[in-house]
């Protein structure tokens, strides 16, 4: 049998606490008995030892012969006072366990929720990225003439890289959308997340390989060898972590790549796509591509020099952009450059949402504080006699205050410990949910700062909830308290209690309002008009590999054949493809109209490549003209808004226009279609041009409208595609409803959390109103009895109690309305399709709160009615 050692912390605490006189005997006895007990049940032995330890810590055997030096006696006595207070507080807590359970669970709820949200905020907003000096890492964007942030074109990037002096290094990369390489030749075909990076990328990030090396300058050229750096994850999955992989080859897109290095696991950052890659390959642009200034489809990153501020770097980039605009007026006029800290870019829109949630959960804690304060207050008053006796025996007000505060802090400490457990449980069980909701979710954990936060919040809560009762109780009149049958408790502190109700109701109203508009916003986004019909639509993505499908004819015939097979499947109503689905970032370009002068301020429209069948599959209506058909070649469809932007009042059908990437091809407009929310759910419909070409790119999303539940057709559709090319990876199989839902996860996440917080707040407020009112009714029972004896009717008593309860509630609703209107400013950026200060929601929320308060005051009112006047009056 393995010998169990006694818990070292307990032994250490005991040796610290016990005097030298007793240490050996007590600790020795405990160790001895622990050893016997752990033979039968180690767990029970631990419990037993801790129980004994706590008792010893609270009241150790007395020191008989004091050997302490004189100087420390004062400190010692103060410490003893504290120990005595703690001991007494423990005793009080165990004497009335139901009270302790109520207070501790309310606090645990509040502190647990706060700790959970704080640990998310800590991981996402506060903790730096896992790279060397992450504060110097920046993302570099272009600013379009329209003022939007956009990705880079190589021409501009290389000019910036050459001229900017504020940067230690600058690098360009291309993400998944463009370089998702299919891994072939090793079993089943699958897609590898790859990032193509320019030379110097890893130096900018400061990611050092665990094995081998990173790319050399000469490998970032089109003639260079095909080389690849693996991520740790990919290396383990595909090569079993074999250190001899350097120099071996892996087949990507049917081309052999030589492995030159492996990145360590610490270099993987799930929230930054460039570093979430499976593999990295050199960007290797041709000279022609390097000079391209019009195609903005590469990402930029940089590292600032050590002594350079962000503003300095931005100013320098502005100056360079202005010079380039003069140098290249056709491509660079009115384009700018924007430098943004990497952390800010990754955290992005989550910041407002997370801070709002932190604020909301803080309100929940305040309500919990008010509740606990009320409970402690009631308790302090019921112990008025005890406190009065203490005062009569010479306890100063400070002493009484310290005693009561110690009790509050002890309860808060217990609540905090339980809350921490609650937070840990929540984070563990919700980790998968979180991963889809917030960036950097994989880094969420309970670490030092979170522990510190939990301890700080617990102490603060204890002080907040404990101070008011302690001050008020210390102030009560000695004579009065000691007199038997003196003024009953109910008459004391009623004002304070009403104030607590006002606060609770006001805070709850703010939370309910937030949750209300958030849920409405979610519903508005979910069921709002997107311009297409998302029900019964199945989507999946393919990317044809250049090496297997080098010519446009081959690609075109692949898609034709696949669509033909899919349309033949039972349950399929329509099928087509598009290069980028709505809400997936796609190309944005300006049209060149034949026969019109070039626009003075060209506006970009969304440009999508489709095949016949797409519009029907998505349920996008053709307003005028016709849909594209198989026999067409190089034709255009334009949405209504795009017509207004480019042709104004003219009829575009039969006219021709060119797209900027193939200016020589004039495409005839054959139809006008409905507007669709192409870019995001939260923005309005986007003007869009669709083109159908016989020379499609290899990247396409199949869109299939079904007459049966779409998920049921996923396997047959994949099989139909694979029947043409068994090695072709098919990814991202989702229904269109799922695509919408995925897009709404941040909104759903915050609506869910706010809803939970508001529910908890409402519950706490109801409990608070109930307990305060019961207390008041109990205190005024004599008065009610006298009134009844003098002939007061049931309705009079009912009115008395309900007015008593509802008046602070109504004041609270008024105060809460003002606070909710003030906080609407924060909510405005987070809600869509509904006003953050929507009067209807506000009214509904106020009414709900008042109704709940009324229900909470009914039980005390009923109790007041049942008071027997004879018995109440005889009690005196």
């Amino acid at each position: 049998v393995k010998k169990t050692d006694p818990p070292r912390l307990a032994i250490w605490l005991l040796t610290r606490r016990l005097s030298a006189e007793w240490r050996d005997f007590v600790v020795g006895d405990l160790e001895e008995e622990f050893a016997t007990r752990s033979g039968s049940s180690p767990v029970a032995a631990h419990f037993w030892l801790w129980w004994q330890t706590m008792r010893c810590l609270a009241a150790p055997p007395p020191v008989r012969r004091s050997r302490l030096p004189l100087g420390s006696s004062q400190r010692d006595s103060r410490m003893r006072t504290v120990f005595a207070d703690v001991r007494y507080a423990f005793r009080v807590m165990f004497r009335t366990p139901s009270f302790a359970v109520a207070v501790v669970s309310v606090l645990a709820l509040g502190i647990g929720a706060n700790t959970t949200i704080f640990s998310i905020v800590n991981a996402v907003l506060l903790r730096p990225l896992p790279f060397e000096e992450p504060e110097r890492l920046v993302r570099i964007f272009t600013r379009t003439p329209g003022g939007r942030l956009f990705e880079l074109s190589p021409g501009k990037f290389y000019d910036w890289q050459r001229d900017a002096r504020s940067f230690e290094g600058m690098a360009m990369y291309q993400c998944c959308g463009f370089r998702e390489l299919a891994l072939t030749g090793t079993g089943a075909a699958r897609t590898v997340r790859a990032t193509a990076v320019s030379a110097g990328f890893f130096e900018v990030v400061r990611a050092r390989p665990a094995l081998g090396r990173v790319f050399r300058q000469e490998e970032d050229t089109p003639g260079g060898r095909y080389v690849v750096v693996l991520s740790e994850r990919f290396w383990r999955a595909e090569f079993g972590g074999n250190p001899d992989v350097i120099g071996r080859t892996v087949k990507l897109n049917d081309e052999p790549y030589t492995i030159v290095g492996v990145m360590p696991a610490t270099a993987s950052v799930a929230s930054w796509t460039a570093m979430a890659s499976d593999v990295w390959v050199p960007l290797a642009l041709t000279d022609e591509q390097r000079a391209d200034r019009g195609n903005h489809n590469r990402y930029g990153a940089g590292r600032l020099k050590r002594d350079v501020e962000l503003a300095q770097a931005q100013a320098e980039m502005d100056a360079i952009s202005a010079r380039l605009a003069r140098e290249f007026p056709t491509s660079d006029d009115r384009w700018g450059a924007v430098v943004i800290p990497m952390q800010e870019e990754i955290v992005g829109n989550s910041r407002t949402m997370l801070l709002m949630l932190l604020g909301a959960v803080g309100l929940v804690l305040l309500i919990a504080c008010a509740n606990v304060g009320n409970l402690l207050f009631t308790r302090a008053l019921s112990r008025r006699k005890e406190i009065a006796i203490r005062s009569a025996l010479g306890a100063g007000r400070g002493r009484v205050f310290q005693q009561l505060l110690t009790e509050a802090l002890l309860l808060a400490g217990a609540g905090g410990a339980l809350g921490l457990l609650l937070a840990y449980g929540t984070l563990t069980s919700a980790s998968t949910l979180l991963a889809s909701q917030v960036p950097r979710a994989e880094e969420i954990s309970i670490d030092g700062p979170v522990l510190l936060f939990a301890v700080g919040v617990s102490m603060l809560t204890g002080m907040l909830a404990g101070t008011l009762p302690a001050v008020r109780a210390g102030r009560s009149d000695l004579n009065d308290a000691l007199k038997e049958g003196g003024l009953s408790d109910g008459a004391i502190g009623v004002g304070t209690r009403r104030l607590l109700i006002v606060c609770e109701v006001a805070l709850s109203l703010v939370l309910l309002m937030g949750a209300g508009v958030m849920i409405q916003s979610l519903l508005a986004l979910r069921h709002g008009d997107t311009g297409f019909d998302p029900n019964n639509v199945l989507t999946m993505r393919v990317r044809l590999v250049d090496a297997r499908y080098p010519s446009p004819v081959q690609r075109s015939s692949f898609f034709d054949a696949a669509l033909q097979r899919i349309r033949a499947l039972p349950g399929v109503e329509a099928a087509g493809t598009i290069n980028d689905l709505p809400f997936a970032d796609g190309s944005s370009q300006t049209l060149h109209l034949e026969g019109y002068p070039p626009q003075r301020e060209p506006v970009a429209v969304q440009v999508r490549q489709i095949t016949p069948g797409y519009l029907r599959a998505m349920g996008i209506p053709v307003q005028r003209g016709r849909d594209v058909v198989d026999s067409d070649a190089e034709v255009l469809l334009v949405s209504q808004d795009a017509v207004k932007l480019y042709w104004g009042e003219d009829d575009p059908i039969e006219r021709r226009a060119a797209l900027p990437f193939s200016k020589t091809v004039l495409r005839q407009v054959v139809g006008i279609v409905g507007d669709v929310k192409q870019r995001s759910l939260t923005e309005g419909p986007t003007p869009t041009a669709y083109y159908y070409t016989r020379e499609p790119s290899g990247r396409a999303t199949f869109v299939v409208r079904t007459s049966v539940p779409p998920a049921a057709l996923a396997q047959p559709v994949v099989a139909a595609i694979r029947a043409i090319d068994p090695e072709q990876p098919v990814v991202d199989i989702r229904t269109m409803v799922q695509v919408l839902d995925d897009k709404l996860t941040p909104q759903r996440f915050s609506a869910l959390l706010l809803g939970v917080f508001a529910g908890v707040a409402l519950l706490l407020a109801a409990v608070g109103i109930y307990s305060v009112l019961s207390y008041i009714v109990r205190g005024r029972s004599r008065e009610i009895g006298i009134r009844r004896a003098l002939g007061a009717r049931t309705s009079d008593v009912l009115r008395l109690v309900i007015v008593e309860g509802m008046s602070p509630v109504l004041v609270g609703v008024a105060a809460g309305t003002i606070a909710a209107l003030a906080s609407a400013k924060v909510m405005r950026t987070l809600v869509f399709g509904v006003s953050a200060s929507d009067p209807l929601t506000l009214t509904a929320v106020g009414a709900t709160l008042a109704l709940v308060a009324l229900m909470a005051s009914l039980v005390p009112a009923y109790r007041a009615l049942r008071l027997d006047p004879v018995r109440v009056l005889r009690a005196d």
Partner: protein, 115 residues
């Protein structure tokens, strides 16, 4: 004196501790943990070790007990034991308490449902 009892009165817990010492001192095992276990096993009261030592210390200072320190043993993590034994005054006090109890309870066995 007429108003003073012949021996100081013992508290309820003090009686248990003294009886524990009396039971264990013959086996040279009358130290804290053994006394605690003896009380637990016989009376069912699972008391804390600090309470046992606090009481032992008080009884010693009243002159009912005497104590000595044993050698360190390995199963106690190399710590020493403190043994206790009854002084004559302790025996007298226990005797008085026992007599008082039995005298008062005499004839009441059936009322107390003690068989």
């Amino acid at each position: 004196m007429w108003f003073k009892a012949s021996a100081p009165v013992l508290g309820d817990f003090e009686q248990l501790v003294l009886l524990g010492v009396l039971r264990l001192e013959r086996e040279d095992a009358s130290y804290g943990a053994a006394i605690r276990q003896e009380i637990h096993a016989r009376s069912g009261r699972d008391v804390s070790i600090n309470a046992v030592y606090t009481t032992l210390d008080r009884l010693e200072s009243k002159g009912f007990l005497k104590s000595w320190v044993g050698d360190p043993t390995p199963q106690r993590g190399g710590r020493r034991r403190k043994f206790y034994a009854l002084c004559p005054a302790g025996v007298a006090a226990l005797r008085q308490a026992y007599r008082a109890f039995t005298a008062m309870a005499d004839g009441l066995q059936s009322r107390l449902e003690l068989k």
